[in-house]
């Protein structure tokens, strides 16, 4: 699953543009990822310009 550093996020929505399952929601200053819908493709991690997102194993949480 994807870990979000919310304090770092600029809410630009670049990740939403790529997400194949449309499981990311970006509001004015809120970002949420629906872990059940996420398929761990990591595209959002790659595209994020400011390194807000990272991958963590589900069991680790």
């Amino acid at each position: 699953m994807i870990r979000i550093e919310e304090n770092k996020c600029d809410f630009c929505g670049c990740c939403v543009g790529l997400c194949p399952t449309d499981c990311i929601e970006v509001k004015e200053a809120v970002i949420e990822i629906d872990d059940d819908e996420c398929v761990d493709c990591d595209l959002c991690i790659f595209i994020c310009p400011i390194e807000v997102l990272s991958h963590v194993e589900k069991t680790a949480v």
Binding site: C12, G13, C14, G17, L18, D22, I47
Partner: protein, 395 residues
């Protein structure tokens, strides 16, 4: 109160595409509501703010208050830091989009549209397979608004189309991962665009320095998603550049953003629904410029909407396709040529780019033009020839 009304059109997103749509549609006699999720129209400015004079004039006489700098020259910096400069045939501007976007929204209001900020849309009302309105939250209170037509002008992060089954997801290689800082306390030429081309500065993209006067500039870059995958994020590239070139700069604004450098979606309408601007992927894929094309798609979509709604036509996608056809006819072919050029140019190695720069440097200053530049690029990669000739034959 807007929440209690029914509209001809509800527009999701108050950027250049949404405001232009709203202005033309309201002028055509439609009742229009624009919903914007952010606190302010025009802020944050996720944009280098560059436009051409000719592009802007399609829509508006440029106002002084929109313009931070007037640009007449371009400087290209090659990987080996050699540079070439040439004059532009037509001038360009660096806008102040806080003011520009605000004015575009206000012009829509003058024509009779209603614009509301802090209104976040999170779904469609769907009836018989037609979009018939939107739902969302306004200052955290849920709302629903009904309309004959929904317009998705919700930018690179667009979800409106997806809710009607249009696949808008971009491929990694068709998104530029971008970051920009507006810096001050530096010296720049106020009438010159600067572009830095190299894998070390911005792999699969470019770095720009767009002046806002003599001591301030938008400095940003986009890297192709394909390179972003390799693990070095856009912010790292920009920090390295600033550290090297302008270590003393103050940073007044920092924004991240995505630039969809894709072909426009084939399908940009569904029953009761149209997509415009970045949501439809109208950005010029070679330059990353999307302000004017967003406005152009907003205009075309609004003309079709006015025509259909005034004549009480069914808003089935087969009727809304008129907009799709017009967009693809007016912009579509060039758009695809620019897409192919982008693919080729971003594949040039740093050695190729150095060679191209040194060949341009050998051309006398008076003879330098973008066409000349591309001719030289073609010599480097002959398969580009057809696209370049076709594009420039029309300019």
């Amino acid at each position: 109160m807007w929440k209690k009304q029914q509209f001809d059109v509800v527009v999701v997103g108050g950027g250049p595409a949404g405001s232009t749509f709203a202005r033309i549609a309201a002028r055509g006699g439609l009742s229009v509501l624009v919903l914007e999720k952010d606190r302010d129209i025009g802020v944050p400015v996720r944009c280098g703010e560059a436009v051409s004079d000719a592009g802007l004039r399609i829509f508006h006489e440029p106002r002084d208050r929109w313009i931070k700098s007037t640009i007449t020259r371009i400087k290209l910096v090659a990987p080996n830091e050699s540079s070439v400069e040439f004059d532009m045939k037509e001038k360009g501007y660096i806008l102040d989009r806080r003011i520009f976007d605000y004015d575009l929204a206000d012009m829509a209001v003058e024509e009779g549209a209603i614009v509301i900020t802090k209104a976040y849309v999170d779904g469609l009302l769907i009836d018989n397979d037609y979009a018939v309105g939107v739902k969302g939250t306004y200052l955290n209170e849920p709302f629903e608004v009904r309309a004959k037509l929904v317009v998705g002008a919700d930018g690179v992060e667009s979800r409106v189309g997806r809710w009607m089954g249009i696949r808008t997801q971009l491929k990694l290689k068709d998104m530029e991962s971008a970051i920009q800082k507006t810096v001050s306390g530096i010296d720049v030429e106020p009438d010159r665009f600067e572009f830095y081309l190299s894998k070390k500065w911005a792999p699969g993209g470019y770095l720009w320095v767009f002046p806002k006067g003599r001591h301030m500039a938008n400095i940003g870059l986009g890297i192709s998603g394909n390179y972003a995958r390799e693990g070095k994020a856009a912010c790292r590239f920009l920090d390295e550049f600033l550290e090297w070139k302008y270590p003393q700069a103050s940073v007044l604004t920092t924004v991240a953003g995505g630039v969809p450098v894709a072909k426009t979606l084939k399908q940009i309408v569904a029953n009761g629904l149209m997509l415009v601007g970045d949501a439809a992927r109208t950005v010029n894929p070679m330059t990353g410029g999307g302000i004017i094309s967003a406005m152009r798609s907003g205009l075309l979509a609004a003309e079709t909407a006015v025509e259909l709604i005034k004549n009480r036509k069914d808003l089935h996608m087969k009727n809304l396709r008129e907009y799709e056809h017009r967009w693809h006819k007016i912009g579509g072919r060039n758009h695809e040529r620019y897409y192919r050029l982008k693919e080729a140019i971003f594949r040039f190695s740093d050695d190729d780019l150095n060679r191209i720069a040194s060949r341009i440097a050998a051309v006398s200053v008076d003879d330098r033009s973008l066409l000349k530049l591309f001719s030289i690029a073609v010599a480097q990669k002959p398969t580009l020839l057809i696209d370049v000739v076709r594009l420039f034959a029309r300019l």
